[in-house]
Amino acid sequence: MLENILITIATAATPLLIAAIGELVVERSGVLNLGVEGMMIIGAVIAFAVALTTGSPWLGVLCGIGAGILFSLPFAFLTLSIATNQVATGLSLTLLGIGLSGMIGESFVGRPGVKLPLIEVPLLSDLPFVGRLLFAQDPIFYLSIGLVAAVLWFLFRTRAGLTLRAIGDSHGSAHALGVPVIRTRYLAVMFGGACAGLAGAHLTLVYTSQWIENMSAGRGWIALALVVFASWRPLRVLAGAYLFGTVSIGQLHAQAFGLGIPAQLLSSLPYLATVVVLVVISGNRRLTMVNTPASLGRAFVPDR
């Protein structure tokens, strides 16, 4: 019983984790992309459509990632090449993504989808208690853990990661040193798009195997909040995603038990938790000031 709950928590946490770790890299490079929700839902619908029509969930995942990258490009062009306001542009990406996904997915509503197979590691998955939780999961779960490790290594152990953080902290100085600010940011935004697309693919190929309009239900926004919660640190994103996974699974179980609490109140818990967490973290100015990329959200126009 408890083991099953833990597995569902991991399933709920994985899309949040992936989307948030992608956005973390984007924000570390100094770009605030509020389009996570839009890229995620586009990834979700494309992954579902491709998996259903071709019968291959693997191809679905790949196309979901590709769709996320493609969909991040208009945002990158507007904010990076022609210096539009990042907040407004990200918002429009989300609005467009929700609309576009609704249009694409209309003929897929109510159709049974394809699920990604679980990958069981021989022997290890028979371990008591943690065996099935850690070693008999969907492939995207393993990928999400790998992503955290890779981002951690990239940001803090490689020269390219150092450059990316430098650009996020002071794009003017980085540019003066001859670092390609715009190109790096393009790559970061595309990585964020890939992650959001993958997170979306998880929603339609693992979490549920169907397409429902607007099914991301604010997860992209929660991922954005997770990055703030984590104060731009990859390991804290991991912790935060599992905390939120616990809240959303906990409320589902509470609904199933019928404790006499209105279902709507329970459903609003993840959103309320996001607000509370933001308040607690942001109130601690020292913590946020130290880690916030100093150029976050500011447009960069080289003055040559």
Binding site: I82, T89, M103, S267, T274, L278
Partner: protein, 360 residues
């Protein structure tokens, strides 16, 4: 290919006037391509979207019904965005305004006289303002990101409304359907010309609000404060303007107008509280605000245009079987083009091919 931005010495007056129209033109071209891709005749579809709704009187009335809430909300948002307060939770403030105003006919069914409607409108504004005060307080006091908090509160508001109309506020005589009692005449916002169509006084309220906020921004000291804090918070501080107070002011003004839109919609167009009362007005209004370049008078035109796309979407669905989801795509694309074209106001854009420009 390289894109280079060359900052203009001054903002281009020419482009600040034509950029919304340029964006609209690009959106129409994009729309035509989209219809071709969907296998529909593009010109017929565009005519259904942008012309057909204007050819009949009743449908012009519908335009006013849809434009009213969009203008009301967008006018409030323009004050927020001009002062750098990113309130994107207008949908939630709309819902709370509707709930607060509806409490009069639902909780006090016997209270029916000339004061009913004004009280409902006032409560609607108070409800929206109070709900908007939450993210404002969290930003001013705890430095919490208002974009995320205001958006999270939209989901909470939707769930709260759902709980009300399925639970304690459900009409006992309404069979099992979710929804409150139908409002009596005294609690219904009157129609402007009942013999011709459905347009109600909400549209008039929207026009009044737009002109009032325009006057406020352009001609009063407080309006000047909004603009200064938006352009340069540092300069604002030197002038003795309080940034935290501006957070509350702009959020609560926008919340009040969104709440007014909510109660107008419920009492003027719907006639009862339901589990869903808005086709995303609070989000579409963000597009309206930017299309109107955050100018309340221009927002009137932008609101009418976006309302047109809602009606056109219905017409195209009936006549050509084009999904009503296409409307959202249209609206999202429009905002993209608006933002792109706005760049032309501040920069000249030079596109060069090859490596020649790399030397610069």
């Amino acid at each position: 290919m390289r894109v280079e931005l060359i900052k203009r010495p001054q903002q281009s007056v020419l482009f600040s006037v034509i950029s919304p129209f340029l964006a609209l033109g690009l959106t129409v071209v994009f729309g035509a391509l989209l219809f071709i891709a969907l296998g529909k005749p593009p010109l017929t579809a565009l005519r259904l979207y942008f012309v057909e709704p204007l050819t009949e009187l009743w449908s012009v009335h519908e335009l006013a019904v849809k434009a009213g809430p969009l203008i009301l909300i967008a006018v409030g948002l323009s004050v927020c965005y001009r002062s750098n307060n990113w309130n994107i939770g207008a949908e939630g403030q709309f819902i709370f305004g509707a709930i607060a105003g509806s409490s009069v006919p639902i909780l006090l069914p016997g209270f029916q006289n000339f004061a009913t409607m004004p009280l409902m409108l006032l409560l609607g504004m108070a409800g929206g303002a109070a709900y908007a005060a939450i993210p404002a307080f969290l930003k001013a006091r705890f430095n919490a990101n208002e974009i995320l908090t205001s958006l999270m509160l939209v989901y909470v508001a939707e769930l709260f409304l759902d709980w009300l109309v399925r639970g304690i506020w459900r009409d006992p005589a309404g069979m099992a359907f979710p929804g409150s009692v139908r409002f009596p005449t005294a609690a219904t916002l009157p129609e402007l010309a009942p013999t011709q169509g459905n347009a109600h006084f909400g549209f008039l309220l929207a026009l009044i609000a737009a002109v009032a906020v325009w006057f406020f921004l352009a001609r009063t000291l407080k309006g000047f404060e909004v603009r200064v804090i938006g352009l340069s918070p540092r300069a604002g501080r030197f002038a003795g303007f309080s940034t935290p107070r501006m957070v509350f002011f702009s959020f609560m003004l926008a919340g009040a107008l969104a709440g007014l839109a909510g109660i107008s919609e419920v009492s003027g167009a719907i006639g009862q509280l339901r589990e869903v009362i808005s086709p995303g007005y609070g989000f579409t209004a963000i597009i309206v605000a930017f299309l109107g370049r955050l100018n309340p008078l221009a927002i009137i035109g932008a609101g009418l245009l976006l309302a047109l796309t809602y009606l056109g979407g219905e017409a195209a669905q009936i006549s050509l079987g084009i999904s009503d989801k296409v409307v959202r795509v249209f609206q999202g694309t429009l905002l993209f083009f608006v933002l792109a074209c706005d760049s032309l106001i501040y920069y000249r854009i030079r596109v060069s091919f090859g490596n020649a420009a790399q030397a610069a």
